[in-house]
Amino acid sequence: MKLWVTVAFVALTSVVRAEVLLSEDEIQQTLSFGPWPPPIQPDPSNRGSNDPRAIALGAALFDDPVLSIDGALACASCHNPEQAFTTLDPRAFGRVLLDRNTPSLRNLAGLRWYGWGGKSDNLWAASLHPIIEEQEMAHSKESLKRAISESPYVNDFEDIFGDIESQNPELVLVKIAKALSAYLETLVTERTQFDDFRDALERSDLAEAANYPEAAQRGLQLFLGRGNCAFCHNGPRFSNNEFHDAGVPYFLSKTKVDEGRFGGLNFLLSSPYTLDGDWTDDLEKQGAWAVRNVRRSHSDFGIFRTPSLRGVVETAPYMHDGSLDALDAVVRHYSEIDTERLHADGEAVLSELNLTGQEITDLVAFLETLSSATRP
C-alpha cells in the first residue's frame, strides 16, 4: 500500500512538472507547421489526379518491372514501400550507381519543384523522366507503348485514357506518368506526436501539449531559434521547397561535379513536360508562373532542394548524396559546418553553431517526433 502511494505521488509530481516550454512567439511559429495532413487538392495539370482508376493503375505499375525496358527494374526497386519509398543505400543504384540519394516519395502532392535539382515542376513529369532515363528504366517512348499494349494493364489503361493503338507513343508515356503521379499523390505520412502537440497548442490545451517530451520541446526551440533550421525547413512539410547550399561537397570525382539546381534548371527550361508546356491538362496553366519566372544565378551551382523532414527517421541516409548516415550526424554537420565550403557569394544563413551534446540530443529528439515510426 505504501509503495502504491509512493508511485502515485511520483507520477502526480511528474504530471505537475510537465509543462510547455515554448514562448508565445515560439508557439505561433510552431502553429505554422500544420495542420496535418493537408487538404487534398487535385492536380489540375493531370486529369487522372484523384481518379480511383488512375490511382489503382499507377499503384500497380509502380510495383511492376514492365516500366523498365528489360523488365529488370520497377519504381519500387529503388523507392521501396517497405523503406519509406527509398532505400538504405547512400546513392541510388539504377542500372549504374547514380549520383544522388533516392528521395522518399511521400508528401509530394502540390509541390513547386521535384527532385534534388528541381528539374520538374510537376509530379507527372518527375514520374516520367526515370522511365526514359538511360541509367534508370531506359524505355523509349515506342518500347513503353509496346510494353503496355502487351501487358495485363492495357484494358485498365484504355478504360481511363482511351484506345492505346490510336495514340502516339509520347502521349502514352505522358498518360502512364500521370497514372503514376495520381498514385504518388496518395502517399502521405501519418500524423505524428508533433502534430498532436501542435494541435493542442492551437486549441490552447496546454495540459495536453505538456505531454510532448521536454527534450523534443528544447529541440524545437533550437530548431526555431539558434539552429536557424526553420529558415529553410518551414511550413507543414518542413520544407520551403527551394534550393540551398548545405555545405555538402558536390564534387563527384576530381573532374566531375553535381551541378545541383544549375543542372536542374537547364533540364527544366528545355523540357516539354512543364506546367507551361503542351502536355498539361490545365488550360489555365496554373502553377506555370514558377517555370516562367524562375531566376537563374551562378550560385545555383551545387545547391539542392530542401527535403521535407516529415518521416525523416525512416529515410536515412541523408543529404543529396546520402553521405550522412544518421540524424545526429546531420545535426553535427550543421553544428560544425565548414563555412569555407559555402558559396562565397551565396546566402549567409549557415554558421557554426557549436551545439553541446545535450543540444544535439534534443534536436534529434525533436526530429524523431516528426515521424510516426520510431528509429529503425
Binding site: N234, E242, W289, A290, R295, A348
Partner: protein, 125 residues
C-alpha cells in the same frame, strides 16, 4: 543583383495626386513623388501580390521591383511581374519570400528619364 525590368505604356498620362493605401515607401531623393505599398498577409514560401500606388504629377515610364533579405544577402528566386492597373496603381504578382524574417522591398521608378529608388521593410514570421 539582376533585376527584372518591366516596360509599359504610360499612355494614360501623368500620375496625379491620389488616395493611396498602405505603407509609404522610403526614398533618399528630395521632393520625389510618394509611393505607397499595400500588402495583405504574406504567405511563407508561397506566391503573393502587392499593390503599389504612385502619387505625383509626373508620368511613370518604367518600374522595377525586387526584394532582398539583407541579413542573409539573398533576394527572391523569381522575377515579379508588374502590371499597370490604373493611372497610378500597379499590381506586382509572383512575389515569393521563401524564408521568414525581414525583407526589404526595393522599387525603382523612372519619371522623365530620372530613376528614383524606394525601399520598404516587410516582416514575415
Amino acid at each position: 543583383m539582376i533585376r527584372w525590368l518591366v516596360w509599359f505604356l504610360a499612355s494614360s498620362g501623368a500620375a496625379i495626386a491620389c488616395e493611396a493605401t498602405g505603407q509609404r515607401m522610403s526614398t533618399e531623393t528630395q521632393n520625389a513623388p510618394a509611393v505607397h505599398v499595400a500588402v495583405d498577409e504574406i504567405p511563407l514560401a508561397q506566391p503573393f501580390s502587392i499593390l503599389l500606388t504612385v502619387c505625383g504629377e509626373t508620368a511613370v515610364s518604367e518600374m522595377r521591383v525586387d526584394a532582398v533579405m539583407p541579413a542573409h544577402q539573398h533576394g527572391m528566386n523569381y522575377l515579379p511581374v508588374v502590371t499597370a492597373i490604373g493611372d497610378d496603381v500597379f499590381r506586382i504578382d509572383d512575389m515569393l519570400f521563401h524564408m521568414p524574417g525581414k525583407w526589404e522591398l526595393q522599387v525603382d521608378v523612372e519619371y522623365n528619364g530620372q530613376t528614383v529608388s524606394y525601399t520598404s521593410d516587410l516582416a514575415l514570421k
